[in-house]
Symmetry: C2
Subunit: 393 residues, 2 copies
C-alpha cells in the first residue's frame, strides 16, 4: 500500500451566517491590511463585496480591493496584484469568488515577498519558501482551491497555462455560504460539478487502487454531487443541495478522497491546453476530454473501470463481460454530461472542428515540447496525448 500524507489546515466556516465572522478570522490569522480580491461584477451587484469590506472595517481591519480576475486567470493581473500589495503594504489576501480568484490570490501571495518573477514557480525554476496568508469567501463551488495547495495561472505570452502546488499557500480559512451560489448560471453550475467530480476521479484512477475506505468516500462523493446537480438545475435556490455541492467541492480536492500526489491528473493536463488555447470553461473542457481519455487508458485496469461503472454510475455489473460493463460506465458518464449541458468532445466544446495544427500545438505544449509524459494510471507519451486529442475531436 502506498504511503500518503494528509494536510488540510484550512478552517472552514460553513453556513448562512458564516460571513459575519470574516473580520475575526482575518485577525486570528494575523491580517491587519487586506487585499480584497475579486472577479467580475457579480460580487459588486450582489452586494457581497460591500458587505465584506464593511464587516472588515467594523472589525478594525483595513482593506484595499482589486477586481477583474477572469476565468483562466492571467499572469498580468497577478503582477498587478503583487504591485498593489507591495505599494499598500498588504499583509493578507482575501479572495471573493471561485477558483480563478483564489488561484490568482495564491500567486500574488507567492509573488509579494519574492524578488524574482512569480512565473518562476509555475515553470518549476524555483520553490516558494514563504507567502502572504490567503483565505476566501467562496462563491463558486468547483475548483476546490479554497482548501487546496494548487494554483493554475495562464501566461498570456503564448497562452501557457501552468499549475504550481505548495502547502504553504493552503488557505487559512474558507467562508462558505451556500446562498451565495444561488445565482450561479446553469452552465457554470454544471461545469463546477464536472470539475468537482474530476478532482476525485483523477485521484480514483490511480495506479495502486488499494485503499477501500478512501475509494468508498470518493464514490460516495461522486454519487452525491451527481444527484444534487439535477436538483439545483431544477431549482437554483435549493439550499440543501447547493450546500452539498459546495462542501463536496472542498472535499474533492482537500485529499480526503486520495492523496493528490498519488493521482493521475492526465485529463487535467490535457484539458489545460484546451482552456489555454480556446479560453473555455475548465469544467466543460474536462467533460470534453474525459470519455476519450477513459476509453484510451481503460485496458490498464479494467476492473477499476468496472468498479467505477457499478459503484458510481449505477451500471448493473455483467460479470461475464468486464470490458462491456466498463464501457457502459463511460457511456453513462457521457449521458450524464449531456443531461447537465456539458460537452463530450472538443467539437461540442468549441462549436467547430479542431484543426490538426491546433492538436499538434496542444500536444506540444502539454508535453512541454515533447519532453515530458503525463498521467500515472497509464503513463502518456506525447503520441498518446495526441491520440487522445484526436479521439476527443
Amino acid at each position: 500500500m502506498k504511503d500518503f500524507k494528509f494536510y488540510a489546515p484550512t478552517e472552514v466556516v460553513f453556513g448562512e451566517k458564516s460571513e459575519e465572522q470574516v473580520a475575526a478570522l482575518v485577525k486570528r490569522y494575523g491580517g491587519t491590511k487586506v487585499l480584497v480580491h475579486f472577479g467580475g461584477q457579480s460580487a459588486v451587484r450582489s452586494g457581497l463585496l460591500d458587505k465584506i469590506c464593511g464587516l472588515l472595517r467594523e472589525g478594525g481591519v483595513e482593506s484595499v480591493s482589486l477586481g477583474g480576475v477572469v476565468p483562466n486567470p492571467r499572469l498580468s493581473k497577478v503582477q498587478e496584484g503583487i504591485d498593489l500589495c507591495r505599494r499598500e503594504r498588504v499583509d493578507f489576501i482575501l479572495a471573493i469568488g471561485g477558483g480563478s480568484v483564489i488561484d490568482s490570490s495564491k500567486a500574488i501571495a507567492y509573488g509579494v515577498p519574492y524578488e524574482g518573477n512569480v512565473w518562476d514557480f509555475y515553470l518549476g525554476k524555483a520553490q516558494a519558501e514563504t507567502c502572504l496568508p490567503v483565505a476566501s469567501v467562496l462563491t463558486i463551488p468547483a475548483a476546490g482551491s479554497e482548501m487546496s495547495e494548487a494554483s493554475v495561472i495562464t501566461n498570456e505570452d503564448g497562452m501557457v497555462k501552468l499549475g504550481y502546488s505548495n502547502n504553504i499557500s493552503r488557505p487559512k480559512f474558507a467562508i462558505m455560504n451556500p446562498r451565495r451560489t444561488f445565482t450561479l448560471p446553469p452552465y457554470q453550475t454544471a461545469a463546477g460539478v464536472t470539475d468537482i467530480m474530476m478532482h476525485t476521479m483523477e485521484r480514483y484512477f490511480n495506479p495502486d487502487c488499494d485503499m477501500t475506505l478512501t475509494d468508498e468516500i470518493a464514490e460516495t462523493l461522486m454519487r452525491t454531487v451527481k444527484e444534487c446537480v439535477f436538483a439545483v438545475l431544477k431549482n437554483p435556490e435549493d439550499y440543501r443541495n447547493r450546500a452539498q455541492i459546495m462542501w463536496a467541492g472542498s472535499l474533492a480536492h482537500n485529499d480526503i478522497t486520495g492523496d493528490r500526489t498519488n493521482g493521475d491528473w492526465a485529463t487535467h493536463q490535457i484539458e489545460h491546453e484546451l482552456s489555454g488555447l480556446f479560453d473555455v470553461t475548465h469544467g466543460a473542457g474536462l467533460a470534453a476530454i474525459w470519455p476519450s481519455w477513459a476509453r484510451y487508458v481503460m485496458g490498464e485496469n479494467v476492473s477499476r473501470f468496472v468498479r467505477f461503472a457499478v459503484n458510481v454510475m449505477g451500471v448493473p455489473n455483467d460479470f461475464t463481460d468486464p470490458e462491456g460493463t466498463a464501457l457502459k460506465g463511460i457511456e453513462a458518464m457521457e449521458r450524464f454530461y449531456h443531461a447537465i449541458g456539458m460537452p463530450i468532445n472538443i467539437h461540442e466544446l468549441i462549436g467547430r472542428e479542431v484543426t490538426d495544427e491546433e492538436i499538434k500545438e496542444m500536444t506540444r505544449k502539454c508535453s512541454r515540447d515533447y519532453t515530458i509524459t503525463q498521467g500515472k494510471f497509464k503513463v502518456l507519451k506525447p503520441e498518446d496525448i495526441e491520440a487522445i486529442y484526436r479521439m476527443a475531436r
Copy 2:
C-alpha cells in the same frame, strides 16, 4: 440545514516510513526540547521509544521521556508531566501511544502555561487560552485523539472522568505506521474499532440528519471498519486492513463524518461513568451501553435507525415495518459486538451484576448531581439516564 465548522489542521504522515520524519516535523512546528510521553512497556519492548528518541537526537532535538500513562488516564500523572515540563523547560509534547497518552499530553500542554489547576478546564471553570504544541506517534487506533480537539481525564479523587475540548490543542502532526498496530491484542483491537465506529455513530445520530454527503461518508466508514476488523482478528499482520482501521480512527473523530458539536454524545457520557467506576476499556464500555441507548431513543426518529440498519448493518429493508427494520439493525450490531468479542451489556462487561447503588452513583455523576441532561438525538434527563443503565444491566 445546520451551519457547521471543519477544522482539522493536523499534518498526517501515514505509512511504513513515516517515523523517519519525526525530527523534521518537530522542528517544523517549533519544538526544541520535547517531552516524549508514553504508556506501558510495549513502547519500550517494541523498540519504538528508543527509535524515536534516537531519531530526535540525530535530528538535533533534545528530549526527556515520561512513561506510565494508564488507560482512563489519571490527573495525578498529568500533574507529574506538568511539573517535569516546567522543570526541564520542555516546549513540545510528543505522545507515543493511543488516546490515553495523547489525551494526557493535551492536558499537560494546557497545564504547563496555566497558573491554576489544570482540572479547572475539565470542570468548565476556565478556558485555556494557550498550550504547548502536541503531536503523536500513534500506536493504537481508537480514540481519534491524534486529530481531535478532545481530551478525557480521570480525577482519582472520586474517580470523576471528564472531557475538555479546545481547538488550540489539535495535534500539529500525527505519524501513523500501521505496522506498529500488529501487536495490538484482539480485545484492544475490537474495543478500538468499537470506539472508532461510535465516534461516527455519535455524529450520525443527531437531531438534524440533513447532510447526505456527510451521512454517506459516515456509513462508508462504519461499513469499512466493520469488515476490516474480521480480517485483522484473523491475521494481526494484515497491513492493508490495519491501515484502513488506523486511518478510519482519525477520520471518525476529525469531523469529516459530522461536526462534533452537532452530535449526540450521550452514549459516551453514559459510558464515562462505567469506565470511571470500573476502570474498564472505554470501547468495550460503549458496546455495553449502545444497544440499550438505541432501543431507548429509537422512537425519536425511527427512519434514522432504519437507514442505519440498511446502509450500515446490511439489514434488508422491510418497508411495511420500519420499527422492525430498525430493531433488526440494533440486533445486528449486538451480533457484531459478540462476533468481535465485545460485551452488549454491563454484566458481560464487568463480569457480575451491577448493583442498584452503583446505578444510582453513575446516574448522579453522569447528570452532575441531577442538574444536567445528556444527548441531543433525544435529550436525556437524569431519570432517562438511569433507565438506560437499568436496561443495559
